[in-house]
């Protein structure tokens, strides 16, 4: 209590009057980032909202706009591709992120147990984070090729397969999820390793004296201490998983059928393949609205869990 008062006093003393020069620089330093964000988010967002109520046709290289009212938004509800895109993106995000979290945690535990080769392993494991998504698509397009891919060659050695990894509608999404797990497990691993390395050592000494075995140590000491890192990593990865585009573009183009249709790819096709600016804008606005909704839910969930603690 006394500490809080003293802190308040200190802040009061430090709060001198801001002079004109400092006020100017307060604005000037924020201005570049502010202008960039406004120009590339608020301005296009307004454009998208306006366009989403219009039909855009191209006549002799010029856009001719006419009002469409709520037509585009109504059409969204019966659009099977949009539905499939949202559903697959949800499945993809949950499947991929769960896999990455579990494997990343296991890897971090393993690496934290070795001392001499730790940096070597960390060096190897961060490689997939640094490779362009499109190159990862190319790597796995080759690896998972039905005829000559290494995956089927290895299966062939043990008398299994061949599996049509990307051409079979029942497993194509699973294949894309596996590629994403390969891509982003290292990121979870890195955050978990940093978390494990910053845990207080004395707790482990005490656990050892109490005679706990490795499982008890993991369940009752490590996991509870790691909860904040786990929550942050999960939220971070989930958000990014919703943006998946590169690998799908190269591996499956949303196919076969709608098996790997993810929302970014649906959007891309409306805008750039089919040139449906009005309809694509309505879809974009809806997706952005859903993203904001997700963020509000996530933030309120976090606030509630913090309130309980």
């Amino acid at each position: 209590m006394a500490g809080a008062v003293a802190k308040g006093d200190a802040r009061g003393i430090a709060r001198e009057v801001e002079n004109a020069d400092q006020r100017l620089w307060r604005w000037l330093t924020l201005a570049p980032a502010l202008v960039m964000l406004l120009a590339l988010s608020i301005v296009p967002l307004v454009g998208l909202v306006v366009t989403s109520f219009q039909n855009v046709a191209w006549v002799e290289g010029r856009a001719v706009r006419s009002w469409a009212g709520l037509d585009h938004y109504r059409a969204l509800f019966s659009d099977a591709l949009f539905g499939a895109g949202l559903w697959n993106t949800g499945l993809f995000a949950l499947g991929a992120v769960t896999g990455q979290m579990l494997l990343g945690f296991a890897l971090a535990l393993l690496v934290s147990k070795v001392s001499r080769a730790r940096v070597l392993y960390r060096t190897i494991f961060i490689l997939p984070i640094l490779i362009p998504g499109i190159v990862i698509g190319a790597i796995w397009k080759l690896m998972l090729n039905f005829d000559f891919g290494l995956a089927n060659q290895i299966l062939g050695l043990v008398g299994l397969g061949p599996v049509d990894w990307l051409g079979d509608g029942r497993i194509a999404l699973l294949s894309v999820i596996m590629v994403d797990i390969w891509h982003w497990t290292p990121f979870c691993f890195l955050l978990f390793l940093a978390g494990l390395e910053s845990l207080p050592q004395d707790v482990y000494e005490a656990t050892k004296i109490d005679g706990a075995n490795a499982w008890q140590e993991l369940l009752y000491v490590t996991l509870p201490l790691m909860v904040p890192t786990i929550v942050v990593t999960f939220a971070f990865r989930l958000v990014l998983a919703f943006k998946v585009f590169d690998e799908v573009y190269l591996l499956t183009k949303g196919g076969p059928g709608t098996a790997t249709e993810v929302i970014s790819f649906t959007l891309y096709q409306r805008f750039f393949t089919e040139d449906k600016a009005g309809y694509g804008s309505a879809m974009s606005v809806t997706v952005i609205f859903l993203v904001c909704l997700l963020l509000v839910v996530a933030l309120s969930a976090r606030r509630r869990s913090e309130g309980r603690a």
Binding site: Y121, P132, L267
Partner: protein, 277 residues
């Protein structure tokens, strides 16, 4: 004996780690090796082969290939967008953390960077293209540079905020007592302290710009296409040139390998600081 019981490790630990390392490395090595094979050898699934430089030669120097141009484009966009992004992010982080903005201003600004970071870029890319065409920049680098810089801005601002908050307040107050103006304070006091953080953020921003595909695809044309856009083209052709795709994939990974070997410290610092704090 650091770490006590935690540093003890038996052969199962090492076996599991070796298998994991193989799962990471084998696809990369196998793909680069495919770049040294003939299309026939790859399609026949031969296990052993004699390496030929043909694909790399074809990708780099053939009359129809523009890979060197794509490479140059990626470097231009990567360097310019990194400079723009990191400079604006550092200034913004200083402004948000060390000047007297009202709390709600800071909160609204940060909330907006978070939302912007969550939106799939494809949702905005077409609107960006329309904007660029309106001002006549649709076929120049400036549009893509601005787009990449802004896409990476949220992450760079969060990261630089972490590093700016680590600058001791006393240092700043002492400089202000001496009558330093804000630019002098930034240049002489803040910058030297945050230099390692600045390097970490820059390396990460460059890598993300180099890797970015969706927006590059939407905002570039033939002359301005970046490396990922060029690689995607291989997969689109009617008859895929698998071995050339592998060779160009190998070339596109070079910056990643360089960063992994020589700037790993910064990558680890950037990735962990940004998410955890």
């Amino acid at each position: 004996m650091s770490g006590g019981s935690r540093a003890s490790s038996g052969w199962p630990t090492h076996a599991a780690l070796l298998v994991s390392a193989a799962i990471v490395l084998v696809p990369v090595i196998w793909t680069v090796a495919a770049g040294f094979r003939t299309q026939i050898s790859l399609l026949m699934g031969e296990v052993s082969f004699s390496p030929v430089p043909f694909n790399f030669h074809e990708v780099l120097f053939s009359k129809t290939s523009e890979f060197l141009v794509n490479y140059r484009n990626s470097i231009i966009v990567g360097v310019a967008s990194t400079l723009l992004c990191v400079a604006s992010a550092t200034l913004a982080a200083f402004s948000l953390n060390r000047t007297r903005w009202r709390r709600w201003v800071v909160q609204v600004f940060l909330a907006w960077t978070l939302i912007f970071h969550m939106i799939p870029p494809v949702a905005l890319a077409s609107a960006w293209f329309t904007m660029l065409r309106t001002v006549g920049l649709e076929n120049s680098f400036s549009g893509l540079i601005l787009a990449h810089a802004t896409l990476n801005l949220p992450m760079a601002i969060w990261l630089m905020s972490v590093f700016i908050r680590e600058v001791p307040k006393e240092l700043e107050e002492a400089a202000l007592m001496d009558g330093a103006t804000t630019p002098v304070l930034l240049w002489n006091v803040v910058l030297p302290v945050i230099a390692p953080g600045l390097a970490a953020t820059s390396v990460l921003t460059f890598v993300f710009s180099w890797n970015e595909f969706a927006v590059s695809l939407a905002l570039t044309m033939k002359q301005t296409a970046t490396v990922p856009v060029a690689i995607a083209k291989f997969a689109q052709e009617f008859e895929i040139q698998y071995t050339q795709m592998a060779a160009s994939a190998g070339l596109a990974m070079l910056p990643a390998l360089i960063v992994m070997l020589f700037a790993q410290r910064y990558i680890v610092k950037g990735l962990t600081q940004g998410a955890v704090k």
